[in-house]
């Protein structure tokens, strides 16, 4: 960690008026500062900025500084969201980390985190060590020859599935963007991960009201039972009427360079009977276009299986 200047604005306007790097829960920023991956000269602690609150009067609205643990514990929060949060990190980290910061967390690619190795995301143009390196944890979807790192957030997967939107504030005013459009594929600019403009701040996360989102879940598959990132995860929501799927939302984590929305799987589910056969048929298209790497070809199969498992758990309430 390098020496830096710390200030603590107390209003959104103050925060936007000062150039620097925003610090919310600190669970990503401080971690990466210790590793010298991020070396901001000026850190703005925004924890006194009034961006809290959970509003469930029409859909869901979370202040960007609301802690992961508080949202997970709220009874009105759709199950896919609360489960994704509860399966993230540890209770201690969830008590610190903000929902806004969670959506901006950086990849867990070990080359990104090690300044002794080349990484296009950390140091544009230096090369991608993961392409031919240890890439078991890496993405199979949305990759490029510059970057194959996964997006690490669980809750972003659930929010992408449930059509969440972000409210953003900048010096000129505010704007709203769909979370699905917010994240950017790496292409040849993997250092640019999203649509957030310099100095811009997430103020709110909004999930539209949809009664059948109560029929949703999140399944996370990983190498140990807790405190570990996903090899693959799936957020699913189903609107089942008389045994037929009227509508569906499906997104996957651990497999994409961004939280991976799966409209083709949703299309295949719509109008189909809510049966294992339908789920397997729909999941079969989930990995279309996948580019497996040396160590992660298994994710093609695992992705389909994870989606089927999530859909079965949703409809049968079967095994945990």
């Amino acid at each position: 960690m390098r020496p830096f200047e710390l200030t603590a604005p107390t209003t959104v306007d103050d925060a936007l008026a000062t150039p620097g790097t925003f610090l919310a829960g600190g669970t990503t920023l401080v971690d990466l500062m210790k590793l010298n991956v991020l070396t901001p000269e000026h850190v703005l602690d925004i924890n006194q900025v009034p961006l809290q609150g959970i509003d469930t009067s029409d859909g869901l609205r979370f202040g960007a500084l609301e802690r992961m643990s508080a949202i997970a514990a709220h009874p009105q929060v759709y199950p896919a969201i609360s489960r994704a949060l509860l399966l993230s990190a540890s209770q201690q980290i969830r008590n610190m980390a903000s929902i806004g910061g969670n959506l901006l967390q950086r990849t867990r690619c070990s080359y990104f985190r090690d300044v002794a190795t080349p990484c296009n995301k950390r140091e544009p143009g230096s090369g991608c060590s993961a392409l031919d390196g240890a890439n078991r944890m890496h993405a199979i979807l949305g990759t490029s020859d510059s970057c194959v790192a996964t997006h690490a957030s669980d809750v972003a997967v659930a929010l992408v599935a449930l059509d969440a939107r972000l409210l953003l504030a900048n010096a000129e005013g505010t704007r709203e963007v769909a979370l699905r459009d917010f994240y950017q594929l790496p292409g040849d600019t993997p250092a640019l991960e999203n649509d957030l403009r310099p100095g811009e701040l997430i103020t709110d996360v909004v999930v539209p009201r949809r009664d059948w989102a109560a029929n949703s879940t999140y399944v996370k598959v990983r190498d140990r039972q807790s405190y570990e990132f996903a090899l693959c995860s799936a957020a699913v929501a189903l609107d089942v009427r008389d045994g037929v799927i009227a509508d569906a939302r499906v997104a996957a984590g651990g497999v994409g360079t961004v939280p991976w929305h799966l409209p083709a799987v949703e299309d295949a589910l719509r109008g189909a009977p809510a049966t294992q056969a339908s789920f397997e048929a729909a999941a079969a298209v989930a990995a279309d276009g996948a580019r497996p790497l040396r160590d992660n070809a298994f994710k093609v199969s695992l992705l389909k299986r994870t989606i089927v498992r999530a859909l079965l758990e949703l409809t049968e309430g079967s095994s945990r």
Binding site: R108, S110, R222, R305
Partner: protein, 724 residues
């Protein structure tokens, strides 16, 4: 139930570990590590680092601290840092920055520029098998290749060829790090040409001896203090790089120096467990009787060939009765960090291979794997005349099968919801060893007795054992014993290693206590003493004669002495010519594998152990639980991923996975208690390492039972169990 004496200090944070010590004027050292696996350092530019704020000095191979490589009988030669420009692994210490604060040292370390002349590196065990060398003789002098053949049998191959049922398979295990909670660290202080070092290690007297040689000092010029150790597991036997450099830099700078590795540095700047490849062949009669056992082993080592992970010697050499046995051990030097002792070196990875192969044989024979093991129970190691002193392995299996519900293990697979359920079993064996040990006992006028030896309690419970065995031997309550460990000025003994400390130090305590009591009763009868000329006896902390009695404290006060001090020394002896010695265990594991997503999770585990007399039931259970959890970790989580350039891809706690609480179900531990007084007077054999032995195979065997899939490497991960 006896709680370990140091527990309150540890859980309240009162325990002061090595790096918790601080001194006036102290400065901080930080290591710079290499970023290539093989080559020569052409140049190092420390100009920027030296002019950074607070920096006192930057030591490099070009501007080094003098250190001589020490060599002790137990360890052989220990590497010392910064003495030459050769780089032989990625993450090798190449510079040491000392500054006024930790942060200044760390930030300056990032400014040290290293120019390398890089050479091709060999970093893969699989790719290095062709260059394997025959291993040097083992620590016990045993040759790397051993063959036992029945009369008239020409070769192991002939014995296998003549076997009606044969199983052959190749197994592999990953390289591991000890991952102790306390990173390697040291605080070094010089005073009048004498060095005091505070550093977690497994034997303070050995640390002092290594440092004295390294720094060219008289042995008594180094005082190693080691009051608490945050886990060692074999990884803190040798003196660490921070200890060498802190000591040498403190001398050069005339200031106390504190140095600690970061967690990431621990993965390369220390030493770990070697990766292994093992080829097994078992030949048997249709009734399961073993005819032939061949176990060929390869392990990686560093280019200095610092350690051999003896997988076939640690297992197949002794575990089963077989008329024909062939074991070999080869090493593959790689451009990787040194390897060293790690909890059950040899036995842990060796048992994964042997006990998986035994399970494969049971499957092939259509036989219960417990029945197969019991059928081949040995009364002595193959080719040896000396019978086991005390062996109740069959009873361990019988009790274990009953407690675990082994009889309900149906053929084929069981399910619970969407989970496939399987059970697995394995044998655990660990040799019962002793090392020479000296323990001092001081009876004091205040009615307490100090029981002291230089060794370490890195969580093993030795401190409490000193108190319990001391109390028993002196016939006084344990709360009157003051146990002392972790100081090189104490009598040398109780090194934490080889599961030996209780048997070694315990026996020495008994001898010292006998001596103390002899001297006490003699003192009581001395001219002018309270029992002058009488026939004095001792019991219950008192001397008796002529119908009168006094406590030992009263006697000491009466003769005007503050204390009576003796030492007792024990070492392996005549018993070694009469019997073979080992601890035994039966490991049971139940595993669940998800039908769709194929995660394997352990849902139940039981270990039944025959480790002689159990001195402290609670601590013994904790030791074995910890060992069993280590086995689960090796089976399902743990393993360093070595990249072609020698970098460990997962060298931190974020990606080097260890099980968390959610991975570990309730652990059942049971003892069959048969004190083994043929081995030592205390009757206790070691149990620090046996808990991890066999567990990985029990998991793999349970995975096979659940899924029908045989995985012959560890760790076992999801992709191993996906069928498409």
């Amino acid at each position: 139930m006896i709680t370990r004496l140091d527990a309150p200090l540890k859980v309240t944070g009162e325990a002061k570990y090595g790096a918790d010590h601080s001194f006036t004027g102290m400065v901080y050292g930080y290591l710079v590590l290499s970023t290539i696996a093989h080559g020569e350092i052409e140049a190092m530019d420390a100009t920027a680092a030296k002019s950074a704020p607070g920096v006192l000095e930057v030591y490099t191979p070009f501007d080094s601290l003098a250190l001589r490589p020490p060599s002790l009988p137990v360890f052989g030669e220990t590497w010392v840092p910064l003495q030459d420009k050769e780089v032989t692994y990625y993450g090798q210490p190449v510079a040491f920055v000392v500054a006024e604060t930790f942060e200044q040292a760390r930030d300056a370390a990032a400014l040290v520029a290293v120019a390398y002349r890089e050479r091709p590196a060999l970093t893969s065990l699989a790719e290095g098998l062709d260059t394997a060398e025959v291993a040097p003789p083992g620590f016990d002098g045993s040759p790397p290749e051993i063959e036992v053949l029945e009369d008239g049998v020409e070769s192991i191959e002939a014995a296998l060829a003549a076997s009606p049922v044969v199983v052959e398979a190749t197994y592999s295990t990953a390289t591991q790090n000890h991952a102790a909670m306390e990173p390697h660290s040291a605080v070094a202080v010089w005073d009048d040409g004498k060095l005091t070092v505070y550093s977690g290690n497994q034997a303070s007297n050995m640390q002092a001896a290594e440092l004295a040689i390294a720094l060219d000092l008289a042995p008594d010029a180094v005082h190693a203090i080691n009051p608490f150790v945050g886990g060692a597991f074999g990884g803190k036997g040798r003196t660490s790089t921070p200890a060498f450099l802190a000591a040498a830099a403190a001398r050069a700078l005339g200031r106390p120096v504190k140095a600690a590795l970061t967690r990431e540095q621990v993965f390369t700047a220390t030493a770990g467990r070697a990766a292994t490849v093992q080829k097994l062949a078992l030949g048997a009669e249709p009734d399961g009787t073993l005819i032939a056992l061949r176990h060929d082993s390869w392990c990686h080592t560093d280019v200095a060939r610092s350690f051999v992970e003896p997988t076939s010697h640690g297992t197949s050499r002794e575990w089963y009765a077989t008329k024909n046995l062939s074991i070999t051990q080869k090493v593959v030097p790689l451009n990787l960090p040194p390897t060293t002792f790690m909890r059950a070196p040899g036995e842990a990875p060796g048992s994964f291979a042997l006990e998986s192969a035994i399970d494969e044989l049971a499957v092939k024979l259509g036989m219960d794997p417990i029945e197969l093991r019991v059928r081949n129970n040995s009364t002595a190691p193959p080719g040896h005349d000396l019978q086991w002193s005390s062996k109740h392995l069959d009873e361990c299996f019988r009790i274990g099968a009953d407690r675990f519900g082994w009889a309900h293990r149906p053929p084929g697979t069981r399910t619970d919801g969407d989970w496939l359920v399987g059970m697995g079993v394995a044998t655990a064996v660990f040799p019962a060893l002793r090392f020479p040990a000296t323990v001092g006992i001081t009876l004091r006028a205040d009615e307490t007795a100090v029981v002291a030896t230089s060794g370490a309690d890195p969580g093993t419970g030795l401190l409490t054992v000193l108190s319990l065995v001391g109390a028993e031997s002196l016939d006084i309550p344990a709360d009157r014993i003051v146990p002392r460990l972790g100081d090189s000025t104490l009598p040398p003994g109780g090194m934490s290693g080889g599961s030996t400390a209780t048997a070694s130090a315990g026996t020495a305590i008994m001898l010292a206590a006998t001596k103390a009591i002899d001297e006490l009763v003699a003192l009581a009868a001395d001219p002018g003493a309270p029992f002058e000329g009488a026939e004095v006896t001792y019991a219950d902390g008192r001397v008796f004669a002529d119908g009168r009695s006094m406590t030992f404290g009263e006697l000491l006060r009466a003769v005007g002495r503050e204390s009576l001090e003796v030492t007792g020394t024990s070492a392996p002896g005549e018993e070694m010519t009469k019997h073979s010695f080992a601890s035994w265990g039966a490991q049971f594991v139940e595993v669940r594998v998800h039908k769709w997503t194929r995660e394997a999770r352990v849902s139940r585990m039981l270990g039944v152990f025959d480790a002689g007399r159990i001195i402290n039931d609670k601590a013994a259970r904790s030791q074995l639980m910890g060992g069993m959890i280590w086995g689960i970790s090796a089976a399902l989580h743990e393993g360093l991923e070595v990249e072609a350039n020698g970098r460990f891809a997962n060298g931190d706690f974020a990606s080097y996975l260890l099980p968390v609480n959610a991975d570990i179900p309730e652990v059942d531990v049971h003892f069959v208690e048969y004190p083994d007084t043929l081995h030592n007077a205390v009757g206790a054999r070691g149990l620090g390492e046996i808990g991890t032995v066999g567990m990985a195979a029990a998991v793999a065997n349970a995975v096979h039972n659940a899924t029908g899939i045989r995985v012959r490497h560890i760790p076992i991960t999801i992709e191993d169990l996906l069928e498409d």
